[in-house]
C-alpha cells in the first residue's frame, strides 16, 4: 500500500488521487509499458536505467530537475534522439505528475514515496488523434490551452485532470474566485504564482 502513515489528516479525495496516480504510473500506458513508465520516473529522480532510451531518460531528468532549460530546440533534440512525438508527450505527463507528488511530499516533510512495482502488459499504442501543429512545441488536439497540452495522448490528459482537482481545484471550480477549502482562493493563488515564478514559468 502506498501513501500511508501521514502525520496529518489527508482529504479522502486527495489520498485516493495520489494512490490512483501511482497505480496509473505503474500500469502500461499508451506508448510505454508499466516497467518503462516506472523507469522514466526513476530516471527523472536521477537514477540510472537501461530500460528506456537515453533520449527519454534525459528528457525525463530535464523536465523534473531543470525545467527552465527547455526550448523548441531542446524538444527537437529529444525527437532527433529517437523518440516519437506521442511517446515524448507521455514522458511529459509521467514526469510532471511525479513532480507534483514529490513536491507535495517534500512540502509535508515526508520522504519521497517509493516508486510502485510495474504492472505487466503492453502499451495500447492507440494512434494519436488528429492534431494540428501550432505555435506550441508539441501538437495539441482541439486548440491550444494548458488543459489540452497533453491531448496528443488522451490518457495522459485524463490522468492530469484527475489529480488537478484534489491537489488544487477541478477545472469547474477554477471559475469560482470565492472558493475556500483549507486555504482561501487568494492564498492558493499566491502560492501558485510564487511557485510559477520560482519555476520561471511564463505561461
Amino acid at each position: 500500500m502506498h501513501f500511508i502513515d501521514f502525520s496529518i489528516a489527508v482529504r479522502p479525495d486527495l489520498l485516493a488521487g495520489l494512490r490512483s496516480l501511482w497505480s496509473n504510473l505503474a500500469a502500461p500506458g499508451t506508448w510505454w509499458s508499466g516497467a518503462e513508465r516506472v523507469a522514466i520516473a526513476e530516471g527523472a529522480r536521477g537514477g540510472t536505467t537501461d530500460l528506456i532510451p537515453s533520449a527519454a531518460a534525459g528528457a525525463a531528468r530535464t523536465i523534473y530537475d531543470d525545467i527552465t532549460a527547455t526550448s523548441r530546440v531542446w524538444v527537437e533534440g529529444v525527437l532527433a534522439g529517437g523518440l516519437m512525438m506521442p511517446a515524448f508527450v507521455e514522458v511529459i505527463g509521467v514526469v510532471s505528475r511525479l513532480a507534483a507528488v514529490d513536491e507535495f511530499t517534500r512540502a509535508l516533510g515526508r520522504p519521497l514515496e517509493p516508486l510502485p512495482e510495474a504492472l505487466p502488459g503492453s502499451p495500447t499504442r492507440e494512434g494519436p488523434p488528429s492534431a494540428r501543429p501550432g505555435r506550441s512545441w508539441v501538437p495539441m488536439v482541439g486548440g491550444m490551452s494548458i488543459t489540452r497540452a497533453l491531448s496528443l495522448v488522451p490518457a495522459e490528459s485524463e490522468a492530469q485532470e484527475e489529480i488537478h482537482g484534489p491537489l488544487y481545484l477541478s477545472y469547474g471550480q477554477m471559475a469560482d474566485q470565492g472558493f475556500e477549502r483549507e486555504l482561501t482562493r487568494p492564498q492558493m493563488e499566491l502560492v501558485a504564482g510564487r511557485v510559477s515564478a520560482i519555476n520561471e514559468c511564463f505561461y
Partner: protein
C-alpha cells in the same frame, strides 16, 4: 490575474508584486509565510521551522492546502514549459500591465 481577481472577492488589498519579490507583503492573510514556505520547499532549504510556523498559523489543514498547490503547479509549470504552451495574444494584451509590474517577460523562452 487569478490572485488579483480572487482577492477582490475576499476583500483583500493584495500587492501582486509579492509573487516575484518576497520582501513585499502580499496583503493576503499569512501571505508572507506562504511565500517563504514555497521558496523553502522548492529551493530545497531547511523547511522544518517554516512548516512548524505555518501549522501554528493556519493548522495542519492549511499545510495540506499549501502542499497541494505547490504540487499542482510543479506539475502544470512542467507541462507548460515542456510543451511550449504559448500565451494567447488576447491574454498577452490583457496582462500587459501585470507582466510589466512583475517583470514576467524575462521568463519567455522559445
Amino acid at each position: 490575474m487569478m490572485l488579483r481577481e480572487s482577492s477582490k472577492a475576499f476583500g483583500y488589498d493584495v500587492d501582486i508584486r509579492a509573487v516575484t519579490d518576497p520582501s513585499i507583503d502580499p496583503g493576503v492573510p499569512h501571505g508572507s509565510l506562504l511565500v517563504a514556505f514555497s521558496d523553502a520547499v522548492l529551493g530545497r532549504h531547511d523547511v522544518d521551522a517554516l512548516r512548524s510556523e505555518l501549522v501554528e498559523a493556519i493548522g495542519d489543514s492549511g499545510l495540506l492546502g499549501a502542499a497541494g498547490v505547490i504540487g499542482n503547479f510543479s506539475m502544470m509549470n512542467r507541462i507548460a514549459d515542456a510543451t511550449g504552451m504559448p500565451v494567447g495574444r488576447g491574454f498577452l494584451a490583457a496582462t500587459e500591465d501585470v507582466r510589466k509590474l512583475l517583470g514576467l517577460d524575462r521568463f519567455k523562452h522559445e
